[in-house]
Amino acid sequence: MMAGAGPLARSTLVLAVAVVVHVGLLAHITPAGVIVDPLVLLAVAGGMMGGRSTGASFGGGCGLASDLILHTPFGMSLLVLTLVGYLSGAITEQIPSAGRLARAAIASLLAAGGIGLFAGAGWLMDLVYVTEAPIVRIAIVTGVASLLTNPLLERATRWALIIRPRMTVSPESGARGG
C-alpha cells in the first residue's frame, strides 16, 4: 500500500512505528537502567543514508516526534536531533566507502555523541534532571544499541527516504549494490 507513497508519508510512518515501539516496548526494557531512544538512532541513520541536508530534515522529524512524547522543553529534541541528523550526514559524506561494520561503528559513536549533545543542551538550559542523569552510561548503552540495530535502521530509513542502494562498478561483474 505504501509502495507508491512519497518520502514524507513513508518517513511519517517510520517515525510513528518508532514512537509506538518506544513507548510500548523499549520503555519497559532498560539495559543497565537505560531507556534506548529509537528516535536518536533513527536520526543518525537518516543522516548517514540521506546526507547532511536530508539528515537535518529527518532528524528534525525525529526531534519533533520526541518533543511530543517527552516532557523536556518543547523544541529541545527538535534542535538536538536536527543537528545530530546534519552532523551524521556531514561526517558520513567524508567517508563514502566505509563498509557495513565501519558504518555501524560510526553510527554508534554518533548516537553516543547525540546523547552528549542533548546533555549539553540541557546544561545550557540549566535542566538539572538532564545534567544529573548518568550521561556516560546512557551514551554507552545508546551507542551499543545503535551498533546492533544500525543495519535494520539503515534499511528502514532507506525505504522511508526512497534511497536506492549505492551502485558501484566493479571491473569484473559490472554494477552491484554498495
Partner: protein
Amino acid sequence: MARRAGIRRRTWLRLALLVVTAIALLTLDARGSGGVLDTARGATLDLLGPVRTFGDWVAEPFRNAWRGIVSYDDLEAENAQLRGELAEAEASVLRVGELERDRQELLALVGARDAAPAIPRVTARVIDAPVSNFERTIELAKGRRDGIREGMPVESGDGLVGRVVQASTTRSRVELLTDPNFDAGVRIVRSGDDGLASGRGPGRDLEVSYIELETVVIPGETVVTSGFAGSTFPAGLLVGTVTDVEPDAVRGAQRVTVHPAADLERLRWVQVLLYEPNVPEPVIVDREPPEAEQ
C-alpha cells in the same frame, strides 16, 4: 560548481530554518504561552495511552518476577514491616473513627459547620515506565475525564507526591516534589512556623527556607503543607520529616532539610486531590463617592 554551491546554500538554509523553528518553540514553551504545544502533547499522550497501558500490562509480570528474584530478602523484610504497620494502622483507624464521631457530635451540639470538608479524591494508577532517561514527571492513567486538572495535589498513602502539571482527556503528568521547579508552602508541625519547601532534584531531600533563626527545629519533626490563601495545596498534607537543620546567617534564617514521606521510587497507585484553591475575589472599588449615591 554553481550547482554544488546551490545545494550547499539550500542545505544551510534548511538547517537554519529548522534551528530557528526549534528556538522559536523553545521560547514559546519557556514563556508558558505554549497553548498549542500543550494541546499537541496532550493529544499525543491520549493517543499513545492505550499503547502505554498495554505495554505496562505485558511487562508487569516480568518486572515483578525480576524484582522478586533480585530482591527476595528485601521483599520479605518489607512484608513483615508492612504487616506490623497494617496492624498499627487498623488500631489507629478505630481511634480516628471514634474521634471523628466525637467531633461531629460536638459540631452538631454547637451548631457549627464543618470548616474543612473532605476533599474528593481520584485514585489513579501510575504507569510504571518512564519514556525517557531524562524524565522528571510520572504519568497517571487518568485525566480530565475523571476531574483531574493542572495544579491539583497528588499524594500516596505515605505523603505528598507532587502536583499535576499536564492533564489530557485520559492521562495526566505529575511533577514530583523533588523537582527543582517544585515549591510549596509548608508548616513545621511542632513549632507552627511556616516556610517554603523547594525540590532539589531526583533522589534529594527538600530544602525549607524562611524558618526564623530563633525557631527550634529538631530532626525527626513532621512537616505538612501550610495551605495559605491561594496555595495549590490544602493545609495538613504530610510532606516529610526534618533530617537536618543549618543556620544561614547571611539570610538570617535556617536551612531545614526534609526527607519526603512518600517513596517516590515505588509509586504504583496515587490519589489526586480534586482541590482547587480558593483564590480571593478581586475587590471592586466603587469610584462614586458615597454621598453621590444618596
